[in-house]
């Protein structure tokens, strides 16, 4: 469940059947003030969210002013970079490229991540430069952003690590429970596509087929790239890297979807098959597996990769032109590897 803030002025809704043709200028001014940190009425993150959802023109300029301002805190600048990644226009990309010389690690990592979401081949060069010069978290974010771009564009880029057999979590038979994967109806598919309008990661998502995954209280949706559903698409995976789809999670309160995982594929180096790597949008590898392609049909098997907080999962089936035939889908409710422990704050001595 989640708690939202109601803006103190008219909100242009993210999902609406009504075309907004006459934006309220007063609201725009207030919104711009809030984005710039000059409004006590609305937080900056909320202002950026509303700006993003609005159809106000040149919204990248307000975010640019925040991102390029060294006087702002790194967190606020990073936030502006991430929202630019959602604005997803050539102008927004240019601003992000301009900001790729930022010195702060948090800002630089956010710029790389945003370019990974919306970038083109030029952006890949920029992200690669960030990768060469950065270290720590910014380097990790740049590496994943570059890999994401190289998969989406099917060009040379950093390799993503494929797990060994020991890296997979074993599913304990006594705790395994089946979960459902089924094709969704057109209304839910439309809602999902609308929710993800600013989170498409540079691919066109197919309206059909779309698959809902239900596990415990959570519902996910598998959306495939249009490139992954045309006749013969499966065969192409043997020779090309791809961003084959997105897995989105549904918010129980808002009922909207947001992107959770990215489905990346690459011709396997160890076998004749195809490696499937399912990463969190921030880069962590969560699930992985292989696919064997025979003609237009491919059989696949996926499992969960060992990491703190991971829970065992196994999924197997086949796919042909985007249509799934699930053979087995089982998971557990419990985290299999001990969680990481938060560190106690140093106690400040009371006077």
């Amino acid at each position: 469940m989640s708690l939202k803030i109601e803006p103190p002025f008219k909100l242009v809704p993210r999902i609406s059947e009504v075309a907004i043709t006459d934006p309220d200028e007063v609201s725009l001014r207030k919104l711009r003030d809030a984005v710039a940190g000059r409004s006590p009425q609305l937080t900056r993150s909320r202002a950026m969210e509303i700006l993003l959802a609005s159809d106000f023109p040149n919204k990248h300029r307000d975010l640019q002013a925040v991102l390029m301002n060294d006087g702002e805190s790194p967190e606020v600048r990073a936030m502006a970079a991430l929202y630019l990644g959602k604005v997803n226009t050539p102008a927004a990309r240019e601003v992000l490229v301009e900001a790729s010389s930022a010195r702060d690690t948090l800002v630089l990592g956010a710029v790389a991540s945003a370019l990974g979401r919306i970038g083109d081949e030029t952006s890949l060069e920029v992200v690669s430069r960030i990768l060469d010069g950065a270290n720590g978290l910014a380097a990790e974010q740049a590496r994943f952003a570059a890999a994401l771009l190289s998969h989406r564009l099917d060009v040379r880029g950093p390799e993503l690590q494929t797990p060994n057999s020991d890296d997979y979590l074993k599913l304990p038979p006594e705790a395994a429970r089946p979960f459902r994967v089924e094709q969704t109806g057109s209304n839910e598919a439309e809602l999902c596509l609308r929710s993800l309008a600013d989170q498409s990661f540079g691919i066109e998502l197919a309206e059909h087929p779309m698959y809902q995954v239900r596990c415990g209280n959570n519902a996910w949706m598998l959306l495939l790239s249009r490139d992954a559903v045309f006749p013969g698409a499966t065969e192409r995976l043997r020779t090309s890297k791809s961003l084959a789809g997105i897995i989105a999670i549904k918010d129980r309160t808002t009922r909207l979807y947001s992107s959770a995982f990215l489905v990346l594929t690459a011709p396997s180096k160890q076998s004749d098959g195809v490696a499937i790597l399912i990463h969190r949008t921030t880069g962590d590898l969560i699930f992985a597996g292989t696919m064997q392609v025979v003609g237009r049909r491919a059989s696949f098997a996926l499992g969960a990769v060992r990491r703190p907080g991971a829970f065992p999962m196994e999924l197997s089936g086949s796919i042909e032109d985007g249509y799934l035939d699930i053979h087995s889908a089982r998971s557990t409710q419990f985290v299999a590897i001990e969680k990481r422990q938060a560190t106690p704050e140093r106690r400040i001595t009371a006077r």
Partner: protein
């Protein structure tokens, strides 16, 4: 103050204790005039403990002050249904990447992969959550720290000036409360600011949660 020592020990405090810092858990001083007798009375009834876990660089003093005020807001709201808020412990996540929650799933990852020790409810304080949410929590959250989603996530920057509402609201979810869509005055109304009120029935639900301690 024999009963104070007894209550302090009961909530896990030992050694030399500062009333404001340790007994209440405020690091920037008392947010308002405090009634020690009232706090002791509340801890003699059902109460909870909290682990505040930041995922960001150390908070600036003004943000720390907001957090202390939020804790006091929560204490006041929960006191109306005779639920105490006891020990507050502070921690941090020593790995980057959780400062800004880009997608909802990253919040789930945070509560699936990290935890604080002991019997305090884990509250992860992130800088912000991108999207409409300012806080997230499972309803009737687990008391097993090794289970999925064992904690709530709150965007500190998002929530200001409603951080107290957000904190009390998300912990309310964790303790089993659902949204009250038709009661704008209620703490569990799904938008902030709201009236911050709790009614007796909600207190009854909260007190049944596994993380709620019996009276000291």
């Amino acid at each position: 103050m024999t009963s104070l020592r007894h209550v302090a020990t009961c909530i896990g405090l030992s050694g030399k204790i500062s009333i404001v810092r340790d007994f209440y858990g405020y690091v920037t001083g008392a947010p308002k005039k405090l009634s020690l007798a009232n706090q002791v009375r509340l801890l003699q009834g059902n109460h909870i403990h909290l682990n505040l876990i930041r995922t960001t660089r150390p908070f600036q003093p003004d943000v720390q002050k907001q957090i202390d005020q939020a804790l006091q807001f929560m204490r006041d709201a929960y006191a109306t249904v005779n639920m105490g808020v006891g020990r507050i412990q502070r921690f941090f996540v020593n790995q980057g990447g959780y400062e800004i929650i880009v997608d909802q799933d990253v919040a789930l990852d945070l509560t699936n992969s990290w935890s604080g020790p002991g019997d305090g409810i884990d509250i992860f304080l992130v800088f912000l959550i991108v999207g409409p949410a300012i806080g997230m929590s499972p309803v009737d959250g687990s008391c097993d720290k090794d289970s999925k989603q064992s904690g709530s996530v709150i965007g500190v920057l998002d929530s200001y000036p409603n951080l107290g509402t957000t904190l009390a609201h998300e912990v309310g979810h964790y303790l089993g409360l659902e949204h009250e869509d038709d009661l704008p005055d209620n703490l569990m109304y799904p938008s902030a600011p709201n009236g911050g009120k709790l009614y007796g029935g909600q207190g009854g639900v909260m007190k049944l949660h596994c993380s709620v301690k019996p009276g000291c």
